[in-house]
Amino acid sequence: MDFLKELNEAQYNAVTNYEGATMIVAGPGSGKTRVLTYRIAFMIQNGIDPFNILALTFTNKSSLAMRERIEKICAEKNGNGGDARNLYMGTFHSVFARILRFKAEKLGYSSNFTIYDTDDSRSVLKKIIADFGLNDKLYKPNSIHNRISNAKNNLITAKGYEKYPELMKEDEEGGRPKFLEIYRAYTKKCFENGAMDFDDLLLKMYELLVRFPEELHDLQHRFKYILIDEFQDTNFAQYQIVKK
């Protein structure tokens, strides 16, 4: 495998030891993308079915670039880069959105659910806060949205929020006792609108795995190898999903 010659010793070890749990600590400019790319190419050339590999990247662009490179390496080797197309690759959000599009109905959504970007979410919240007759200087849509986002990233739903008295106390003391009511109304509104916000893509993915063991089983069976780029920037929800 010619491409291995381009690697230094540390990179070589990180590329070729692909079995078992591995952590690669990569300094800036140390060829991280190259290692991740070659590791996947190496796995495929050692007979691992690309269908079984899931790679979670930081941007869609880097994922596209990596996929191209991997396909090229595999094509040089077997004259068939087509296999590598079965790789499942993308950002956390886009990968989960793709999976959820086929499973949305299990969760009560249409498969054509809408994804709300930050602007959309804030606009929905703004309307809820106005409907509640609350002061939007105190209940700023942006900060309410951040707090909801944080809760979701820690897998705390509107339904489960009351189980965290310390959070309720923070809301009370921060002068925003109505936070939970807003969170509930927002959750309801999104659901009625057939929409998931960015954080729902993680939360609903987690819900799918927890509520439907057969789905978990299928995905575990499919994704035998999971690679995560920029692991230091993953949140609790992302880690809990991947751990499954």
């Binding site: 600590v25 800036p28 400019g29 869609n60």
Partner: protein, 511 residues
Amino acid sequence: MGDDAQSIYSFRGATIQNILNFQNDYPDLRTFKLEQNYRSTKHIVSAANKIIASNTAQLKKEIWTDNVEGEKITILKTVSDSDEGKQIAHRIYDLKAQKQVSNNDIAILYRTNAQSRSFEEQLRKLNIPYIIYGGLSFYQRKEVKDLVAYLKLTLNPFEEESLRRIINYPGRGIGDTSLNRAFLAAKESDKRLWEILENIGSVDGLQQRAKDAIGEFVVMMKTFMAMAKEKNAYDLAVHIAKTTGILRELYNDKSVEGISRYENIQQLLNGIKEFTEEDVVEENEEGNIDRSLGAYLQNITLLTDTDKNDERADSVKMMSIHAAKGLEFKYVFVVGLEEGLFPSTMSLYDREGLEEERRLFYVAVTRAEIEVVISYALSRYKFGTLNYCEASRFIDELPQEVLNYIGKDTGNNVDVDFDDHVKSSFGGWNKSALRNPQNTQQRKPSPASMENFVADDYNKMEEGMKVLHQLFGNGTIKKIEGSGDKKMATIQFQEGDKRLMLKFAKLKIES
């Protein structure tokens, strides 16, 4: 795969704890460290290591490089935010003129997006093209959002945000009063707005005219929905843009803004066309490639900041450090290194916050391959009032031996630095040697002799002249093209021919 030293997203809920948990959850975990840096010069790498050493380390790691030592890191002191913009824009101009650096290789990185303004103004003055990342992106423009709202609604009519956005755009006589009536009806019967609109005939208190208008709107949307099942995303989008009248409305607006809005819609349609034809792998359950409208909408909604912009344009890149993550540039300007800005005020009171800011600084500096310039301003407008600022603690934490201060100790300083004094008089002594043409001609001057270099008026330059350049030494002008301040000269130096823009080349006429 990751780097704890580059963890900068705690505000999004990212947690270094995950790395530690990973070690606990998988006791058989094997760890590999990639420490050789291929990107940056030795000076940049040593600065990076020193920066991160001030944090409490989680995973021990020190980067090193075989690359050249490189230029020192410039610390640029400026008097105000606008002066900072000006000085950096001029440095960029000089880089381009003297080192033939292309715009794409240059980035200005800042802590907050609001800082971009002064750089924008100054770059525009010098006609240097730039792109701002993370500003109002293409998909956030009104006209684009309008058409996208139609597309979203076609797939999911229950989505109220989109529905409210376009039910009366372009205007079709559905006023606020009628709409509020429909909202109320939805609330009273605990139904969704779309369901009410579908049966608008049975809603009380609406004028027949409004009912007709709503009825027509519903019929139109339903034809779109039917079409979505048969046509591809592009054909559907074109059909919607025409049928709804969006295209006509924008086409008829011949103001500058109107034309650009029309172009944006065209660009959006082109993007959809590309998507339907492109060889992207977006497989569905059966392994087929999914080019449906749904897949398209999902794609554009989930674009990350750095995905959204056009790489092809040759422009200076301006972005927040957060957006620069994972990118690299030959020349990097890290600006606004002031206490209260970077590190930000909010982080000053707890160690964790401060450490995250420091990691951010680490990320900024390590984006650069060749040169880093770090700047700060002594005063800055914040919310309309002028504030005085002091240099960031992060500058003091850098290894002083790799720094080159510019603008320090200017003005009426009471404090005299003898080192500086000795150096400048040394330069003065050498300058007189330089003035004597017999001594210097045909020799590449030593750096010391350049300290008091004074360039001659570029209008006096002619083909065939012998000139002296600060960096390249002696040379002969072979050719001059263009006129006025756009004059480009091809000059033969010892190390080869260079094309320089005369206005900024800073040449001294030798003979």
